[in-house]
Each structure stands twice: as structure tokens, then as C-alpha cells.
Symmetry: C2
Amino acid sequence: MEQAQALGALSALAHETRLQIVRLLVPCGQSGLSAGEIGAHVACSASRLSFHLSSLEQAGLIAARREGRRVIYSARRRRIGGLIHYLLNDCCAGDRTVGEMCRLHAPDCNCGCG
Amino acid sequence: MEQAQALGALSALAHETRLQIVRLLVPCGQSGLSAGEIGAHVACSASRLSFHLSSLEQAGLIAARREGRRVIYSARRRRIGGLIHYLLNDCCAGDRTVGEMCRLHAPDCNCGCG
DNA sequence: TCAACGATTCATGAGTAGTTGAAATATGGA
DNA sequence: TCCATATTTCAACTACTCATGAATCGTTGA
């Protein structure tokens, strides 16, 4: 991920409603949720929701596809992971202190690295 | 890290100059750099720089201390790591696809987790 | 105590993002 | 074709963020 993309993604995530949308969509994986279903969870007007969804899509964090009269949104999880990777490795140059705070191993991992 | 803190941190990072400052400070660790030294790298007016440093400090991403007539800024690396941790584990619920993009092991780690 | 230095604060103006409600577009079914 | 549903677009407004330069504050050394 390039810096410009990372800035766009950070900007998109730096909003309560949009962060909430991402949190809602990540566990849904590829199947995603329709705009209406998302709206039922985040309590904002349809037009505002559409605006936020469009911001997230432009930032590359979610994808949209039409299914009948609904538009289904799903999290682009590899992109979100790419942003985190950027923060960790490009932005923070793989700094150990930063990395130790967020290293994620499998629960049974016992490698002791870091 | 709470959502409100994460939003503040994301907002602070979502700016080219401020991201650049963090990138500059992380490798300097505790010793940090003075405002003047930072200014020499990021090419913006002193007042603008002061504003950006203050934003980053308010967001908890950097710390300031006075040394003589200089003010030394250093990255709060555990906080930055905490933000990344939040994105990975709270925001993305430890999603595997997200995690695989950004897992950081020691170069010689061979545990195979993930 | 005064001048120089390092950094911050303030006032102002421009630009951008966010919100709202109404209108428009797209799709599916009667 | 016409209507209902799902979603987006538009226009107008508000609020916030960003940038600039001048003024100010705090510290050091002559």
C-alpha cells in the first residue's frame, strides 16, 4: 500500500459511523450486508449512509455489488489488513515496541518471537 | 484502547504532514527530536508544525518534553501499537484474512501460525 | 536586564467535509 | 404499464480543518 492510499483509508476510518460500518462488515466476510441492513444497525439517514458507504468504497475498504434491487456491501479485508501492514511496517518501520503491542499469533502459538 | 481514542488517533494520522512526523519520530525512540529538527524535515511553517505536533500529542501518539529552550517530541510507540492492535482485534475482531496481511513475526520465526 | 533563539498562540480567510431533506434512479412484481 | 422498494444524487447550509503571518511566551547567555 502506498502512502496516498493509506491516508485515504485512515481518513475514511476516522469517522464514528464509518468505523462502525467496517466493524459490522468484517465479520460478514464476502457475503456482506445490504445498504438497508447496514442502515438498520448504524442509525443514520439513508442519504448520509449512502455517502459514508461511498467514502469507504472510494477508500478501497469496502466493495459494492448489486443483487436485485439491493446493493450489497462487503469489507475488503485484505485491503484493511494492508492498511494495518502499512502502519506497522512502512510507517513504523517494523519497530519492535510498536509490534509487540499488536502482534497476533494463533492462540496456541508458542514460538516466543517478539 | 477505546473507540473514541482510536478515532482521535486515526484522525490525527490521516494527514500527510502528521503521518510524516510519526514516521520520522518512531525510529528515534525515546530520545526524539526537537520541533526545529522536525521542521527541517517536513517543510512547513513553524506555526503549522506546532499545530500538527499539538494534534498528535492530543491524540496520544507523541509526547512532548522541554529541554532548555527546545521542546523534544518522541513517538509514544506503545500507543501507536495500541491503535494497530485496536484495528486488528477490536475493529476487525481478529479476522484471519485481515490478520494474515499484517502478521509480524521475527524474521527467523518458523512457528507457522496463521 | 536585554537580546537572541526556539516554539506556541492568535486572528483571519480559504477550502473541505458533514448533514439534511427532497428529488431522482434502478429494480422487481402486480 | 404502474407501483412499491431500495438506494443514490442533488442543492443548500453548517461546521470543521488547514494555512498564513504577526504577535507572544519561555529560556539562555552576554
